[in-house]
Amino acid sequence: MDVDAANDVVVRRILDAHPVLVGVGRALDVVPGMRKDLILHAGPPVTWDRMCGPLRGAVIGALLYEGMARDEREAVELAASGAVRFEPCHHHAAVGPMAGVTSASMPVYIVENRTHGNRAYSNFNEGYGRVLRYGAYAPEVLDRLRWINETVAPALGQALQRMGGLDMKATIARQLTMGDEGHNRNVAGSSLFARQLAPALADCGLARDELRGVLRYLAENDLAILNPVMAACKATLDAAHGVTGSSVVTCMARNGTEFGIRVSGLGDRWFTAPAPVPKGLYFPGFREEDANPDIGDSTITETAGIGAFAMAAAPAIVKFVGGTPQDALAATLEMYEITLTENPAFAIPQLDFRGTPTAIDVRKVVRTGITPRVNTGIAHREPGVGQIGAGLVRPPVAPFQEALRALAELVSP
């Protein structure tokens, strides 16, 4: 079995993938394997007793939201009882930022990979502040979530249907030329998102108040497009998963307790290690001691070759990586050391339109000792406080080494 030949197939699939945001649906109706007693979360599998603060908070919030518990105490009891199940979003073709908690009645974006026919899903972004994805579950948090889910989501779904879908590959390509890297910075992409959706929204027959609310949601949320971008990356990488012998990483994700990866040629196995605490800049009043270990499925962006891998495209946020545009260039250049190809669809103007470093090879990671760079938001370790900073994290090398061992066993025992 030839690893390089398998990787060629994987690379081809990643580059050929064509994710399109086709609509919105209810998780229970559209997410494969979704059940009423199931709560999806970010990262590799984790049990209630090992969940970090923000993830527990988000689970409590979801149980309250679903009406499965009346208060926090009941929710905690229920979560601990085993009567509700917890599974990674990644086991259901889904991704979610930070806690990534998605329950049955929540709406999800549907992204279809037009080349390979597979679909991927992501929940809705609530914006900044006290939000469920950071583990907040106060009544006003759930009220806003309900409004997003009941008003914004159906409206966007209708608009997308009218538009015949929104080309995510083209939109990501454009946002990279406008100063976004698609993970920590999505200002340009979210603006493009709003601009493309607005005319269709106007034709959806919404009440004036509703339309104003939806447009304001798009106008005020710099992260509005993050979740569709993540689903687009997931749809791309799922198509590349499961090629026997391949050493390409198709998933990197964190649950706030552990960081984990999956590899195309190694099936459904997770390779995990304790999640590190990000290094970064903190909002006033917060320090590194307040930070939760790294959390969220948003590393799907780096896995697909954007996010920190496209840092050179986002000089506006260089403070996270050292302070100068030169550092931003260096961040992307370093990622070419551990990737197999460059994605011509995602060209970086600052690097003379070189494609983003794409297809992380576990062999290259182990050989060079360079682990993927990840741009990330930083969550407070207590549930519900929210985002306290943003920065950079380097996942541990151990999961990549473990994956290499597993691959060697499989390919050349």
Binding site: V3, D4, L333, E334, R363, V366, T368, I370, L407, S412
Partner: protein, 585 residues
């Protein structure tokens, strides 16, 4: 005086970084002596020799870094060692520094048109780096030593498939299209081309050709084992063929220690086809008389003289130095040669065997003169301090003269020693002031001997040119100022040192020199790959992997160079490396 040590298991650092840390430790308050080395057996022996022994060194191995200090007080020693990690911390890119590629693949991307990789990483990693470079289409200058023979064969086979040239492993120097790689002297360009399986042989001949008024077109190194049966002269043949057709070369010089007879015949057959005069010096073999276009020289000096004459120049006659009578004390009779250059060491042995009989060496001309322990001299002894047993896990003595300084002091304490013979090698990549270091050590050595009522003489030659970063003239002056006798060539220095010792009876029989087997006729033509021709047209654009000083010396010559920020693959973990090789990563 307390001796304190620290061991860092499995820690790799550039040997220049180690040297800098060692020097910084030495300069700290209260520190008498310091050593920072990889714990190879040879390095541990050197540490012990310098009075730097500590229980912690037990069980330290070649992958472990050890730092040892001898200090006035325990506290001062502790304070110095506390700064070790800081001193070793990588010269990481400060904010805003340009990206330093980590692999040859990305370096080539950063320097379009790169044509040579200069590789000087530790031996056991060197073949993999060289292979990566070949696969990226680069010629390889492989400075690293301690590369396995089968790896060399494999690399040269790969190079042949790809039409590329591998200079090395253990290739000290090369002059390619005017650029000096590795330890290289600044010589004028001219009509003499050199192919050399010996680094300092190439340097000595190139410098003499320069100093005697001619110049060098190219000086291509091949590594010392290229003319063995296993390697079969793979690089030598390609380099010779390239110079044979090079329009800038009128005379070709071939330098090697005596090759395998079979390979020698092949190489000489190829040389016979060359339509230019070819000067051959198989250092340590009995030179036959001229055959057609082949001129045989017994020493490097003679090879340089022939090359200059054949290219139309007028070399000076052999210098006759009249040694002054020295009032030796009773029992003073031995010569001790301490060399940093392997070929210079061999040339000295060749000259000395005539006057002194058997000369012991760690790299002897004949096996019966092998020194049982390279660290312990006996009778007349000439040691190559640049050979593998001294350089595993530490800097070459051309860069770090302290090994020789210590040995010099040690020999000077031996009441039976009369004459010391040394080489000083200048050029890019070499120590910034080797003569200064040597003169300082010599002053101390002479002082020690005189206090014991003995006179000592040190005879040196300086391999270099006026154009070198350490100008030849001022280095010679520095030595003379320190009381060292300086001869114009290495051979002349050996002749003079031999004459100084020559009153004693020759010691033992020097075994016969091997003959040179001449070919029956001319060899088949050896094609020159287009990429090699291209390389000689220049200019050189280099990817440097390993010693940072080689990149700096290329930069100072105006050669575009990109430096790989190299680290051992998989942090040197044997299990992971094995998996990677199985998985083709």
């Amino acid at each position: 005086m307390p001796v304190l040590a620290r061991v860092r298991r499995g820690s790799y650092h550039d040997s220049v970084a180690l040297l800098q840390a060692q020097q910084a430790l030495r300069q700290m308050p209260g520190v008498e002596e310091a050593g920072v080395v990889m714990a190879t057996p040879a390095n541990l022996a050197l540490l012990r020799g310098a009075g730097l022994d500590a229980p912690e060194l037990q069980g330290a191995g070649p992958d472990d870094l050890v730092a040892v200090v001898r200090a006035r007080t325990q506290a001062e020693g502790e304070r110095a060692l506390e700064r070790l990690d800081e001193l070793l911390s990588p010269r990481g890119p400060a904010g805003g520094a340009p990206y330093r590629p980590r692999t040859v693949r990305t370096a080539v991307r950063a320097l379009p048109g790169a044509n040579v990789a200069v590789v000087s990483v530790p031996g056991r990693f060197a073949a993999a780096v060289a292979e990566e470079a070949l696969r990226e289409g680069l010629h390889v200058f492989l400075f690293s030593d301690n590369v396995a023979l089968e790896e060399e064969v494999r690399l040269k086979r790969l190079a042949a498939e790809r039409g590329l040239l591998v200079m090395g492993p253990d290739c000290g120097t090369a002059l390619v299209a005017g650029a000096g790689l590795g330890f290289a002297n600044a010589v004028r360009r001219g009509r003499v081309g050199i192919v050399a399986a010996s680094g300092t042989g190439l340097q000595e001949v190139a410098c003499l050709v320069h100093r005697w008024g001619s110049g060098i077109s190219h000086g291509l190194g091949t590594g010392g084992r290229d003319l063995s049966d296993a390697v079969g002269g793979a690089s030598f043949a390609t380099a010779l063929a390239a110079l044979a057709e090079d329009p800038g070369t009128d005379v070709v010089v071939l330098l090697s220690k005596p090759p395998s007879p079979h390979v020698a015949r092949q190489v000489l057959a190829l040389a016979r086809r060359c339509e230019k005069p070819v000067v051959v010096n198989f250092l340590g073999a009995q030179p036959p008389p001229q055959v057609g276009n082949l001129y045989f020289a017994s020493t490097l000096e003679e090879a340089a003289r022939l090359a200059v004459r054949l290219s139309g120049g007028h070399p000076p006659a052999e210098a006759e130095l009249e040694p002054e009578a020295v009032p030796w004390a009773a029992g003073q009779r031995w010569l001790r040669g301490l060399f940093v250059g392997g070929s210079l060491c061999a040339e000295a042995q060749l000259v000395l065997r005539g006057s002194l009989g058997r000369v012991w060496s760690n790299v002897p001309l004949s096996p019966d003169a092998r020194l049982p322990d390279p660290l312990v001299s006996r009778e007349h002894t000439v040691v190559d301090l640049g050979s593998d047993e001294f350089t595993v896990g530490r800097l070459h003595p051309m860069l770090d003269p302290s090994v020789r300084s210590q040995r010099l002091l040690h020999e000077a304490r031996d009441a039976e020693v009369a004459v010391l013979l040394v080489d000083v090698v200048l050029g890019f990549g070499a120590h910034p002031d080797p003569a200064g270091e040597l003169a300082q050590a010599w002053e101390e050595a002479v002082g020690t001997a005189r206090r014991a009522g003995r006179e000592l003489v040190c005879v040196a030659s300086v391999c270099g040119t006026e154009l070198d970063p350490q100008p030849h003239g001022s280095q010679v002056e520095r030595l003379r100022g320190g009381g060292v006798v300086v001869a114009p060539t290495n051979a002349a220095a050996a002749r003079m040192a031999g004459a100084l010792c020559g009153r004693s009876e020759p010691r033992g029989e020097a075994g016969p020199l091997p003959p040179v087997d001449l070919p029956d006729g001319e060899g088949r033509t050896h094609g020159v790959p287009a990429a090699v021709r291209e390389l000689l047209r220049g200019p050189v654009r280099a990817v440097n992997v390993g010693l940072e000083s080689f990149a700096q010396s290329l930069q100072s010559q105006g050669v575009p160079v990109v430096s790989v920020d190299w680290k051992p693959p998989a942090a040197g973990d044997a299990e992971l490396l094995e998996l990677l090789s199985r998985l083709g990563g």
